[in-house]
Symmetry: C2
Subunit: 321 residues, 2 copies
């Protein structure tokens, strides 16, 4: 696991339990696949989504067995989308390691992602409410729609901020939000409290994705774990660029209207985006979402989880990986 | 829809209702995707799995709303596996029409399959028992494992009949079997009756896949809807060839030990397989499974569904498409 939870040894220990549940559930007669999935589990993701399930559960009657399993499901779901996502992105690296599709081929990756999805729903049908199953299925369909929208809008530089926000709401914030919601609802909180926590997850998720997109422009490949300009190369335009395009001096538009970008093009677009304050502006919006999260968190009952939520929201805003 | 159910207008009408539920459930803001999925629904599959849900339900207390929805789920699940399957097979044609991946690209097809999976579980969480959800999730994971095993065994000509049967049990018969099982269990039949019907589905499913594999050797591209020797080309060895290899005169092994087959190779392998009775022998095994199905069906209560099951088992054995 990454060092993200080092300051919170309780959460860190609980996330180890969650990881073991995940490992238990990817066991299979196909040792190659099992190994690939175990490697992915061990590859050091921050495990924010499962942590949000646990943190939200602490506001209610925390049932360890139930919540650890739910947390594992949410992370496996995220892994499934990563595996399929990497096929579409043709990504070679994820968290600094070769992706499943680059190591085993796209074909393998298709079924491996499906296998993870199936396992999630098997686990869900063990001891979760029908409502949570419905919630998870809805979020999976939302994520797919977000990804399909992103895929079919490639190389079209006229993306609006509004459309961008809708997209990241679907492909990222929805699962953050759901993690908080089911953690809360499976711990007996009432609908109003569940919705408050869902909002916390949503706002943090929005800020998280904006920062992720910023890191595609100004990150360090070593710490981010994937090459800079990766999205751009595939014709995916994100917030820093959308802002930069508003002040376009025509150089940007001229490059972006192509259907394929050279390394030189990527370098230039990244440079112009940086110079035209696209990154600062994007960071300001991420900050706004984080402030909204703070406001929601402040209204929660005062406990250790609330403190951690505050801290995590702040650190995710200022992260460099 | 295909003409398969023409002799049974009641079932045919009910399958139209099922189709409309499917169409209702693939509606989406992404009109391209919606169109692709509607085309797939309309492309004339036999809809055997949903028909098995309905036929099995007739042995119990048939609840139309519930069963039509279940039947739609089972067929959408099948569609999702087809869409992902075609990515792996790199298939250009399915049911005589271009596949989604050949028309829209592999990337699109990945999320389209995922979207269908998600929709299935959303529908399942509406009015199905937790047991059925678990059953569906288990079958999806089985199908994935079957497909992964098949994929990772490509170009290894020493496949045993036993391993082949295990594979088709997972990738095909399991869903036939589940269709009967949930149709029965959601209509209030007791466990013993549900299991009997599950066996009917299983045996018919095994025979179905063997015949499918035979058609890859002696079918007519026009009626089968995909090119002959398609599996073989990808290094997938099926029953007719496994039998032929037992009588191998070395010519077969010599061709098959390559990692890539020319059109000439495919032609030759198909020819030798035909001449060495591989097809007849495979058909004998399909007949055996059909006989087992007959035996199970005979033990069911005497009603219209039983008659149809008998007839369908016979026709699927003798089909040419």
């Amino acid at each position: 696991m990454s060092n993200f939870w080092n300051e919170y040894p309780d959460i860190k220990n609980e996330l180890e339990i969650v990881k073991n549940i995940m490992k238990e559930n990817v066991k299979s007669a196909h040792k190659d696949m099992e190994k690939a999935l175990l490697d992915l589990i061990d590859s050091g993701g921050k495990m924010i989504r499962p942590a949000f399930v646990l943190l939200s559960g602490r506001f209610g009657e925390f049932d360890g067995d139930k919540l650890y399993s739910l947390a594992a499901i949410v992370e496996m779901l995220h892994m499934a989308t990563l595996v399929h996502d990497d096929i579409v992105d043709d990504a070679r690296l994820r968290r600094g390691s070769p992706t499943i599709q680059s190591k085993y081929g796209k074909d393998y990756a298709v079924f491996m992602g499906d296998f993870l999805f199936a396992k999630c729903f098997m686990l869900l049908s063990n001891n979760t409410s029908m409502e949570s199953i419905k919630g998870v299925a809805k979020v999976v369909s939302k994520i797919c729609l977000g990804e399909i929208e992103q895929f079919s809008s490639r190389f079209t530089p006229n993306l609006s901020v509004k459309k961008y926000l809708k997209r990241i709401g679907a492909k990222t914030a929805a699962l953050f939000s759901l993690s908080c919601y089911i953690g809360a609802s499976e711990s007996g909180l009432d609908e109003k409290q569940c919705k408050s926590l869902a909002k916390v997850g949503y706002y943090i998720g929005m800020a998280f994705q904006i920062i992720d997109d910023i890191l595609d422009y100004n990150g360090n490949q070593g710490s981010v774990g994937k090459p800079i300009g990766n999205d751009l190369k595939q014709g995916i335009f994100t917030l820093p660029l959308i802002y930069a395009l508003r002040r376009d001096n025509n150089t940007l538009s001229k490059i972006l209207c192509k259907n394929d970008y050279s390394e030189e093009d990527i370098k230039k677009v990244v440079e112009i985006t940086r110079k035209s304050n696209g990154i600062e502006e994007a960071r300001r919006l991420a900050k706004k979402y984080t402030d909204k999260a703070f406001k929601q968190i402040s209204a929660l009952p005062d406990n250790e989880s609330r403190k951690i939520f505050m801290d995590v929201a702040k650190r995710l805003l200022n992260r460099e990986y």
